[in-house]
Symmetry: D2
Subunit: 296 residues, 4 copies
């Protein structure tokens, strides 16, 4: 286990990929050997106007029909016969909507993003000049579910609960799983399931604290996800604004995935699995909505 | 090889998944054994305002910065210290932008979408009531590249070239690969590479013709993708508006993926691979931008 | 005063302008003679994400910066010297946002919009084929404020209060103003001022009832606006869904303007004024945000 | 005629309204006396995807149907009977689309916007902190058409033609009109009419040059508009990037209105008129689409 406090410079001064550098051809091949059942799990929640967690300041995600059967004249103008046509949409949504992956440029601290790149390289028209989401290569690796809620014997951790390093270790012990460098770690609080079921208040939320984040970084994981809106607890641990993001995203270049649907993995007690994520290749993007695919 | 002309009713009267029903736990496990190198390939092209294929009627895809360092006061209002903040975007884009997967509701013929569902079930506010993109489970299977351009000894097929059944078979023969039921078939024309390199005219484009589409349906493939904007040739084969879509999407419930980046798979002569696709879970969506992930 | 129950056919079978036909060159010249002080009043409330009335189903109106000083390289690429650049936005908003004018196609009843045009002529891509907002010529006329709240001696009418014909007449009597054909009538409930001050619940709201709407139609007014979200009361009078819209917009072709800021007109007791409205020329639009201009 | 070179400080150090300060209750009352015919003119061109001038980098303006008759279930869920419903849109468009008014924050020079306010006060989420479009009070005043094309005896000035101070004076002489402080000046090049008729190339365009801009500032006008995309000629006069904007908007606080439809005013030889403009009250906006209303 590493004692380094930051991954800055570890993969070169110009690196924009962070801990995803830990994924290698060998680790990919090894991960392909994990599945036992071949069962596929979608970890993505719906993209829709309501019923899903959405920070109000981000506005309402919208799918708008751009063309439908009422526009069939367009098809006929292009040679279509009556009864033939197409349906198409426009999407208007935050890049941080629904289940999404934060790019390494998403958060900055001390005026720096990951690897010491300047914090002010994100311009409205061009987006991020460093560490945008387009730097994220296809992610394929060993997924590990740390079911903190199950290990605690509850359906959902208390609102605002700050998950500690010890709770992560305890859950791993209960599951009989050990973390390894390059793992893609998904932490279950139970929060999302409750929210979807009861449409409870968006905040507060359980999530990892700063020390738990440091633990994951020390374990040299490649990615951290959770079934809540910020991976970390809200209100923030120790009142440090975005403290968990700073440890993982900024200091250690570890990408985050939020609002994950971990219900089925948990109910199947599927704690190790193949995980594949194809983030959208959004030039200069600070995040991408994603549908992570797990195979158990 | 099947002689059925349509998959309607094959998986039940109410089915909305089509040929993706061919993916089973067994086929998934088998596909995981294909990779030899562990090399990952991103098949998604950039989402950006220009430089990529975009049908003009769909408008300009836009990533707009919603929050950046100039809004740091927002962070401080929430407890942040100076020098700490976040960058976020809004996305405005067609669901059929960039590399994307068509939902089975996308096209209709004789007033019906796949499986005989009515053509007019797409409303502006709610979207598709049947066969929307949210019905697409995680896709994991055996990917097969049919490199028609390479088999023809060219970098790119001629503009508007209609790929025949025989050309598909010939390319498979040259590659020494046989199609099997449930395969995820990606057809390379070379068009996208040329477009990205030369910013040539968007139309015409090479692509499969109606008989080639029927051949793929007869082979019982689960999905068809291509490195062009419509999988099928434009202008449409035999002047049948969306004729290839009708054979594959409408008649046979075979999802389509368009604007794929197949360059690296082709240059590596990687004709068989693991393919994983997580379409965004857009409620009522007629398509989803995707970044398919291949492992060679 | 007319006893006709509908204006259908009054200005021809193909008419799409409705009661705005009542505005003539003579009535315009007469209206220009009304102002006494020359004081200008803006009747438009802000377009912004929060703090203003917004029906949740319409999503969040957003002004997004598209270009700012951080993109100054764009200016330099076009010949700009350092220190020179431009700021630009993208707007994403409902056409019915903030202060807005409903087009005559906005509401239908018995499957018909105004003048018997079919209800299903609005397609996603093209918009309204009849009675779209682009049919609204510049509006210039005699504005009349009916300050129902003031006449009732209150700051704001009770939530959900249904304004009657008698209340309109009483307020006009108190003000010493008589309605005339072609008037542009603005009805003050006090609701918007209270909402803006207290950020109270959006619903219920006071507004006119069905009989009051019929009274205004009988008076042959050219337009009706109010300082609430639907001109009519919510919940709807007599539980008739959109009943006030049906009387005014559908039956009588009288355009509506909603979410008007009438505070300053009221506090100045400016009950007659010149009113000018330039609706945006949105092809096929069902409404337009507007900033009506009054001159007292 | 003033010889001042800049209006900075003229209306106070904190002023954000610029030359619109020249509009007074007296000037408004005087302007109401101008109309002779009572004929109304809309000076706004359509907002639509194509067929109108649109700078490509601004993306495609879109009106998208959000709700129509196919969503009638929404009406019934709220108490509507069959056959009753509503049509609504979402708008996605640049604030600088179609006929629009530039806010004083739109352009900066020497790192300053009008009145010396800093150039970097425009943040993505909040928009302009100074000189945003919400500072524009209702505009009512004397409109003056300077028909440079007609005075030159042509339908349209040559592409890229730079209008001089002398040409403005000559056109005014031909028309027999003298400019006065506080006038709202609209300059006709004929360009927009030709573009709309022939769908010619967007650039180059005729427009005023730097000296003509200085002349208008010296005349102490309150606003300048034109029937082209930038008021000033493109390519820019003397190769000064946005040179005309800098003289008018930055140095003198004179708002600009672009893409005006001046055809009918010109064909009626209506050179003096009442002009009313209600810019949308977009908090922090850098511009607003507008439909200016003239009365002859």
């Amino acid at each position: 286990m590493s004692t380094r406090e930051s991954n800055w410079g570890r993969w070169g001064e110009s690196d924009e990929k962070g801990a995803l550098n830990l994924l290698t051809q060998e680790s990919v091949l090894a991960a392909l050997k994990i599945p036992r059942t071949g069962k596929r799990y979608s970890l993505g929640i719906p993209i829709q106007r309501s019923g899903v967690p959405n920070m109000e300041y981000r506005g309402t995600p919208q799918r708008l029909t751009m063309i439908n059967h009422d526009d069939e004249a367009m098809a006929q103008a292009n040679g279509g016969v009556p009864g033939v046509g197409a349906h198409e949409d426009q999407l208007v949504m935050p890049s941080h909507t629904s289940t999404h992956m934060d790019a390494l440029c998403h958060v900055y601290s001390d005026h720096k993003i990951y690897n010491g790149h300047p914090h002010d390289g994100v311009s409205p028209y061009s987006g991020a000049d460093k560490c945008g989401i387009e730097n994220v290569d296809p992610i394929v690796g060993r997924g590990v579910l740390i079911d903190v809620a199950a290990a605690a014997g509850v359906d959902v951790l208390p609102a605002g609960h700050v998950i500690t390093r010890e709770e992560l270790r305890h859950a791993l012990d209960v599951q009989g799983v050990a973390l390894a460098a390059g793992d893609l770690v998904l932490i279950r609080t139970g929060w999302l399931e409750e929210f979807m079921r009861t449409q409870s208040e968006l905040l507060p939320q359980p999530g990892i604290g700063i020390d738990a984040a440091k633990y994951l970084a020390e374990c040299d994981v490649a990615l951290v996800g959770s079934d809540n809106s910020a991976v970390e607890a809200i209100p923030f641990d120790q009142d440090v604004y975005l403290g968990g993001h700073i440890v993982l995203l900024v200091d250690n270049g570890i990408h985050l995935v939020e609002n994950l649907d971990l219900k089925e993995l948990a109910s199947d007690k599927c704690h190790e699995f193949l995980l594949a994520i194809g983030a959208l290749n959004i030039t200069g993007g600070t995040a991408s909505p994603v549908t992570p695919v797990a195979v158990g």
